[in-house]
């Protein structure tokens, strides 16, 4: 029983330690430089790709 409690506690700690993502569409991630854009671009080779450069107002 003691070891079961330990396992449960460890799982709970692990869950709490994982960063929680904000609900989709409510926050913006920061662009991590041109390398992130380039990686996204090359990941979707074979698809048409559209880049939009916009200001929020």
């Amino acid at each position: 029983m003691k070891s079961l409690r330990s396992i449960v506690a460890m799982i709970a700690l692990a869950v709490l330690a994982v960063p929680h993502a904000a609900p989709a569409g409510t926050t913006l991630s920061q662009l991590r430089g041109m390398q992130e854009l380039k990686s996204w671009f090359n990941t979707f080779n074979g698809h048409p790709r559209l880049i939009l450069l916009l200001s929020p107002t």
Partner: protein, 131 residues
């Protein structure tokens, strides 16, 4: 902002099965612009990635490198004057585009999105149909 709404309504919502991928980079250009002013409900399509770019890295990069892009389907070549970044703009790429030093496969680009939306719509339809 009008450009984002238009892209959602006229490009993405009307072509739900198109295999296009979209990357939207938001940054400050007007006094009062701020990340907190971003309206998530404008562009909600699942094919869209959003990022905030505080130092305008991407806009500056594209403004500097516009001449090397050479769009295959034309465009009027108008870009923002007296600005430090390309903004309120689109860049559309074909399926075979790759990015080494600079991206290849530019179909067209335009400034502003709303002013050049007829070309974007025409080239978007070409891109998604051209398998």
């Amino acid at each position: 902002m009008a450009g984002a709404r238009w892209a959602q309504d006229e490009l993405l919502a009307k072509n739900p099965k198109a295999d296009v991928q979209v990357f939207v980079i938001w940054f400050r250009m007007y006094p009062g612009d701020a990340e907190s002013k971003w309206r998530s409900e404008l562009l909600t399509d699942r094919r869209v990635e959003h990022r905030w770019d505080e130092p305008k890295t991407a806009g500056r990069w594209f403004l500097t490198n516009l001449e090397s892009l050479r769009p295959s389907r034309g465009g009027d070549g108008v870009f923002p004057q007296r600005a430090d970044a390309l903004w309120d703009s689109y860049l559309l790429f074909d399926r075979g585009a790759t990015w080494n030093d600079t991206p290849s496969g530019v179909l067209s680009w335009g400034y502003t999105v709303m002013r050049t939306r007829a070309q974007l719509l025409k080239d978007f339809q070409f891109a998604i149909a051209n398998r």
